[in-house]
């Protein structure tokens, strides 16, 4: 039987350590992909003509054009900035009755931009609810009870309507 002439030895005491390190690394780093949703009630018609119940309701018009640019009140903005949007919404909800944010959407605009606008609107609304809760009740949102919460939400209420730019 031939003996092996050259034999090296790998010190394999470290293999266990390395494998545990790798295991712990991946245990710490791995995340599962959750999916998130943006919920909207489905409107009754595709082009919602603006129905002003009375002259006291106010409308904020936001345009998304074919180049995915967002224009509010004829001033183009590259991205909706949350602070500006909350200011605009604040003046919107001061009108007492049904307040409407009307989105004019060009059919060639991207879906992603549309979702960005909806997302910013929802975030701005939540921001306003926080502020209202602080202003009216001087409490943070978590400290409000059911009745107070419903009152504050009612104050900061607006509808989002969509219209197609033809």
């Amino acid at each position: 039987m031939r003996k092996r002439r050259f034999s090296g030895s790998i010190n394999n005491g470290a293999i266990a350590d390395v494998s545990f390190l790798l295991l712990i690394f991946f245990m710490v780093v791995t995340t599962f992909n959750h999916q998130y949703k943006l919920e909207m009630a489905l409107s009754a018609h595709r082009d919602e003509s603006l129905v002003r119940s009375n002259s006291k309701s106010d409308v904020l018009e936001i345009y998304i054009n074919a180049n995915d640019e967002i224009l509010i009140a004829d001033k183009p903005r590259d991205r909706l900035v949350l602070d500006e949007l909350t200011d605009l919404l604040m003046s919107l909800i001061e009108a007492p009755d049904d307040n409407v944010v009307l989105l004019h959407i060009h059919p060639s605009s991207s879906y992603e931009q549309y979702l960005h606008v909806l997302d910013e609107l929802k975030l701005a609304r939540e921001h306003l609810i926080w502020e209202k809760a602080d202003q009216v009740y001087n409490k943070s949102l978590k400290e409000l009870n059911e009745l107070e919460l419903s009152i504050v939400k009612k104050e900061v209420r607006f509808k989002i309507r969509e219209k197609e730019i033809l």
């Binding site: 030895s9 992909n33 998130y36 949703k37 489905l42």
Partner: protein, 142 residues
Amino acid sequence: MKFKSKKHKVPEINTTALPDIILMLLFFFMVTTVMQDASISDINLPVLNNSRRLDVDSNMLEINVSASMGSVLLEVEGDRFTLSESLVQFDHVFNQFHRNGLVKQNAVIYGDGELRMQDINLIKDALRKHNIQNIMYAHARI
């Protein structure tokens, strides 16, 4: 020439633990694996800040819309068709639900971020015809 070989004996890797490790890995993956519906996998969901988790239940109609290959591919409950074909097929899929007594009230749209709004509007038109009340737009988070 003979020489004395003062070679160390090569220590062998003790492999008695290997089947244990392999079985452990197997059980781990058996427990944690969730089967994905065989659906369109090239949808890039848009990335947003919103923090409402999406929990899909059987009351929801799942619509996968992908925009690759130059045409819009729509998949609803395993039926796949292109959106440029008439939405008659879409109606057909819905009618199957009604026949089976399944009434869906909510729809979840898994849409690629680069879809055009005209496609989404077509889908929403079809959903309106079938009394869907709420739409959830699925997206990913940063």
